[in-house]
């Protein structure tokens, strides 16, 4: 444990960083991830400097935002979460009413200066709000508390599904559920929910859009339509598989550069990475992600109240979930859902919001009250 007290003048780098509320291990891992993103993007975008610069700017904004959020004491988040949650609900309604359509889905809100997806705020607001809700309650939660938590998740999810954005909805459900899980939701209720979910699958199926149904069908049998809906997944498997142990080398991946692989700089960037760096590159990335998740869980274990524990743990697990869902989808393990590869894919809101969640983690960790023995 760090031995520096809050008001000591820092004399070492780690001391200075703690003084600045920055968690060094996480910060190093995040910067590594950000730099890696720039390199992979340069290749995946077909050597587009514009895209790399764009991403670098977002990385910078994200890091500044993260450090800023790290300065905020954790209990502010507990108190502010419901407000942020309410605001995000308003924005989501706003998107449905006057949002910009891109690729057949209304997800964007144009604020004149920036265009962003309000659902990204929800991703952060939902787990924090659920954590805040459980802060004063006796854990494990009782059934009616579980239902309230379910409602907190359910409202934004219902709105996001209307956009439609299945991937984000799934991530929000995941974020909220992880909070519930760490709150000690009883296993029998977990199993019951899984059973209900399975039973509801047909209902969900018939409420899916055609393209969403197609994605699931394609996942179940990609060979059925290799040039149509199965094209994405077939090509990304070719990209990953042809990478081999050591990969084809940076800028030498052929699948993405020759346009065989669609969306190579966003949702499918992992295929480019795996093609160019091979199994060892993938192991490295998984290790990097794993390190950040473990560090997050460690922060949760070391944290000092219920809200911080639940928030830190669920944010960490959500981060893992992002990475797992994206890599699983690109590797053909999961159906195609629009989830970017965290911190690597090209995309501003996602990058900024992920760094924001790490800002919250850092805030939790660096605001611990030291017990001087």
């Amino acid at each position: 444990m760090s031995s520096t007290t809050e008001h000591d003048t820092p004399t070492t780098l780690s001391g200075w960083l703690t003084y600045r509320r920055i968690d060094l291990p996480l910060a190093v891992a995040l910067v590594c991830c950000g730099l890696l993103s720039l390199f992979v993007l340069y290749s995946a975008s077909g050597r587009s400097q514009a895209i790399v610069i764009d991403q670098a700017i977002r990385l910078g904004i994200g890091l500044v935002g993260m450090i800023t959020l790290a300065q905020v004491p954790p209990h502010w988040y507990r108190l502010g979460a419901p407000w942020a949650y309410g605001l995000s609900i308003l924005l989501l309604v706003g998107v449905l009413v006057l949002g910009d359509a891109a690729m057949g889905a209304k997800r964007w809100l144009d604020l004149g200066v920036v265009r962003f997806q309000p659902s990204e705020i929800t991703k952060l607001a939902v787990p924090l709000t659920v954590a805040a809700y459980f802060h004063h309650r006796t854990l494990p939660p009782r059934l009616h508390e579980v239902l309230v938590a379910g409602l907190i998740m359910g409202i934004p999810v219902a709105l996001i599904v209307q956009q439609p954005d299945l991937g984000t909805a799934l991530l929000i459900v995941a974020g909220g559920s992880f909070t519930l899980f760490f709150a000690g939701l009883r296993w029998r209720i977990i199993l019951l929910l899984i059973a209900v979910g399975a039973a509801a699958l047909p209902l969900i199926w018939f409420n899916l859009h055609d393209y969403q149904q197609q994605r699931v069908l394609t996942f179940l049998n990609p060979a059925s339509d290799p040039l149509g809906a199965g094209y994405h997944i077939t090509q990304s498997k070719i990209a990953i598989g042809s990478g081999g142990l050591f990969g084809k080398g940076w800028l030498n991946g052929t699948q993405a550069h020759l346009n065989f692989l669609p969306e190579s700089d966003t949702d499918f960037i992992f295929a480019v990475y795996a093609e160019e760096t091979g199994l060892f590159g993938v192991l490295g990335l998984v290790a990097l992600y794993g390190f950040m998740v473990v560090r997050g869980l460690f922060i949760a274990l070391a944290s000092q109240d219920t809200f911080q524990r639940l928030a830190a743990a669920s944010l960490s697990l959500t981060f893992f979930f992002y990475a797992f869902v994206n890599m699983g989808m690109v590797a053909g393990l999961l159906p195609v859902v629009g989830v970017p590869l965290p911190l690597i894919s090209f995309g501003g809101t996602s990058m900024v919001m992920l760094l924001a969640s790490f800002g919250v983690l850092m805030s939790i960790h660096t605001h611990r009250k030291m017990l001087v023995t």
Partner: protein, 640 residues
């Protein structure tokens, strides 16, 4: 909610949280394990498979068809070459408007027929995206110029330069050189498809057909990197095509032309061989045809015109025409009789105008009604006495006639390196039994020994007979290929001539006897060809005339006035000859269809061919072929 605010048990909550974190860690590890197993499966276990898929994805192999070998005459004149051709093609993906309206607009500049359109539609279906589909195969210079001027109006339409086959000698050598044509379904079943990837043409006739394998070469390939839509981005690898071998023929272009012209306006065939090696100096079948017509797909109209022409220009008379050899076969029969010992060459035989066989009153007539009187073998050949040979035939018998005819190659293909040769018929008892299911009648022996009846021979076979006599039984297999030339190094490899199985006589003097008689045909004042061939000879020539009856005319009923018989019933005029007698340089067989008298019609043509060739040997002595054929392209203009 305030009712739930029981006092929190922080210790229990911590333990609960720790358990949950451990559970989460376990689930997390399972999921990571699952993911890594999947990645391992893709990147290690199935790496080879996906590696191949990735290569297939980005690479396209394009075939580079080989350049076809050229064909030269013995002195290096081009008989078949490759000329630049301009092909109009369209890349549908690059056309701004519809392909149809582009074609409509193109039609105003370059005529595009309905046939062009339907061919284009057929080709379009077989062409992968981003590759040109031909609209018109050979544009004229004028059309190329017109298109170039208007090029900007036609995005996606290009002119591609290629090569097309051209035959500079045209009809003069069509039956030797042959032609190439489009590869048909039938061709595909017989060829090695791998060698013909990307190829559009294949030899269909003549040398183009018989040496197809050498001329064609081997295709190369280009590996092209493509993007997902098939557009070529860059060339990754190339293995160049191996051009076909060039061929140098034994054909003497000048003699070929002279022989063709010597036939005048008559149909017929001339084969001139170099008796010293069997090389074909000239091989004419008249009328010829324009072989260039076939290269880009002959039109139905032109093809019908060639097929329906009563003079049958496509028919190679020199190899396929089977004519009764008539009296040209008498020297062979004489040698047979001498060799069999059934006659004494010096013994004089009474030759009236006809003979009859015992037990029959059928008159076997001599062409000369008054007969030849008492004559020996030499005189019988010189004057072409039929009665002498009837008597000789009776003594020799059909079995010996067949044996000696066969010895000279009659009834069998000569084995020339040109396609579709016919064997002719050298009849025998077995042959008649097999083909007519009838026994051999003695009268048939009489007409066979003078080259009539069932017996037929091709002009080529007669030229081989002349060569055999000229070389005293040591002739060579007739062939048209003199040498092969490597397209890269230019090195010429001569083709060794193959000797025919020699005709060994028990007494070599028999050759001299017969050759002297053949010399007399031309030299002796009473020789049949003396007046027509034997005047102002520069070289001693040996020859023998023949007239072949055309079926339908009563046997030996020769009308005195040729013009009084319908053309189709007139007899064929034949002549075989070789010269100079002591050192033969050329052996010739001439057949003039429905020409009439062998000596009067075919004889002078044979002499003209011999003179033309021997004059050229004398006039401008030519060095060895290897020296001559260097720098061939520059010689072409001078030669022609």
């Amino acid at each position: 909610m305030s009712g739930d605010d029981a006092i929190k048990n922080h210790g229990a909550e911590r333990r609960l949280f720790l358990r949950r974190t451990i559970a989460a860690g376990v689930i997390l590890l399972v999921l990571v394990g699952l993911l890594l197993a999947r990645i391992y499966y893709l990147q290690v276990a199935k790496h080879g498979y996906y590696e191949t898929r990735s290569q297939d994805n980005r690479m396209r192999v394009e075939v580079v068809p080989p350049v076809r070998g050229l064909i030269y005459s013995r002195h290096g004149q081009l008989l078949a070459n490759n000329q630049p051709a301009y092909q109009l093609e369209i890349v549908p993906e690059q056309v701004a408007e519809s392909v149809k309206s582009t074609l409509d607009r193109l039609d105003e500049i370059v005529t595009i027929t309905e046939a062009d359109r339907s061919r284009f539609q057929a080709r379009l279906r077989q062409t992968p995206s981003f590759r040109g589909t031909p609209i018109k195969l050979s544009l004229t210079q004028r059309e190329v110029a017109r298109f170039e001027v208007n090029r900007e109006q036609f995005p996606g339409v290009n002119i591609r330069a290629g090569l097309t086959r051209h035959y500079p000698m045209g009809r003069y050598a069509a039956h030797v050189v042959g032609y190439v044509g489009g590869i048909t379904e039938r061709d595909l079943s017989t060829i090695d498809r791998k060698r013909y990837r990307g190829a559009s043409h294949i030899g269909k006739a003549g040398v183009e057909l018989s040496y197809e394998s050498a001329l064609h070469g081997y295709p190369g390939s280009r590996v092209i990197e493509t993007n997902a839509s098939g557009r070529a981005l860059r060339q990754l690898d190339e293995s160049p095509a191996e051009a076909g071998q060039s061929l140098v023929l034994t054909l003497d272009a000048r003699l070929q032309r002279a022989a063709y012209d010597a036939l005048g306006d008559k149909d017929g065939a001339i084969v001139a061989l170099d008796p010293e090696d069997g090389g074909v100096l000239a091989l004419v079948s008249k009328p010829g045809y324009n072989s260039d017509l076939f290269v880009d797909g002959i039109s139905h109209k032109n093809y019908a015109r060639l097929l329906n022409n009563p003079h049958k220009p496509l028919y190679n008379r020199a190899l396929q025409g089977q004519y009764p050899p008539g009296s040209t076969i008498k020297p062979v029969m004489a040698i047979g009789a001498l060799e069999a010992g059934v006659i004494d060459p010096d013994k004089r035989v009474w030759c009236p105008g006809y003979i009859t066989l015992p037990g029959s009153d059928h008159h076997y007539r001599d062409w000369k009604r008054s007969g030849h009187g008492w004559i020996n073998l030499t005189q019988a050949i010189e004057r072409s006495s039929d009665v002498y040979f009837y008597k000789l035939g009776m003594k020799l018998g059909i079995d010996n006639i067949h044996r000696y005819g066969t010895l000279f190659g009659l009834g069998h293909k000569t084995g020339i390196d040109l396609p579709r040769e016919n064997a002719g018929i050298m009849p025998s008892r077995e042959w008649k039994h097999g083909h007519r299911s009838q026994p051999w009648y003695p009268g048939e022996t009489l007409i066979t020994v003078i080259g009539q009846g069932y017996m037929t021979a091709t002009p080529l076979q007669l030229a081989v007979v002349a060569s055999q006599i000229a070389e005293r039984g040591h002739a060579y297999e007739p062939h048209v290929l003199k040498a092969r030339r490597d397209p890269q190094t230019g090195a010429t490899t001569p083709v060794a001539p193959e000797a025919l199985s020699p005709i060994q006589l028990t007494d070599e003097r028999h050759w001299k006897t017969v050759i002297n008689a053949m010399k007399g045909v031309i030299n002796d004042p009473r020789g049949t060809a003396h007046h027509y061939v034997g005047m102002n000879l520069k070289y001693p020539i040996a020859g023998k005339s023949g007239s072949a009856q055309v079926a339908g005319l009563p046997q030996n009923e020769v009308a005195p006035d040729l013009s009084s018989i319908p053309y189709q019933l007139r007899e064929h005029a034949l002549f075989i000859a070789f010269a100079p007698i002591e050192d033969p340089k050329i052996a010739v067989a001439v057949v003039v269809e429905h020409g009439g008298g062998g000596s009067s019609v075919a004889g002078p043509i044979a002499r003209e061919v011999i003179d033309s060739y021997l004059d050229s040997l004398q006039g401008e002595p030519r060095g060895p072929i290897t020296a001559k054929t260097e720098g061939v392209p520059r010689r072409v203009a001078a030669d022609s």
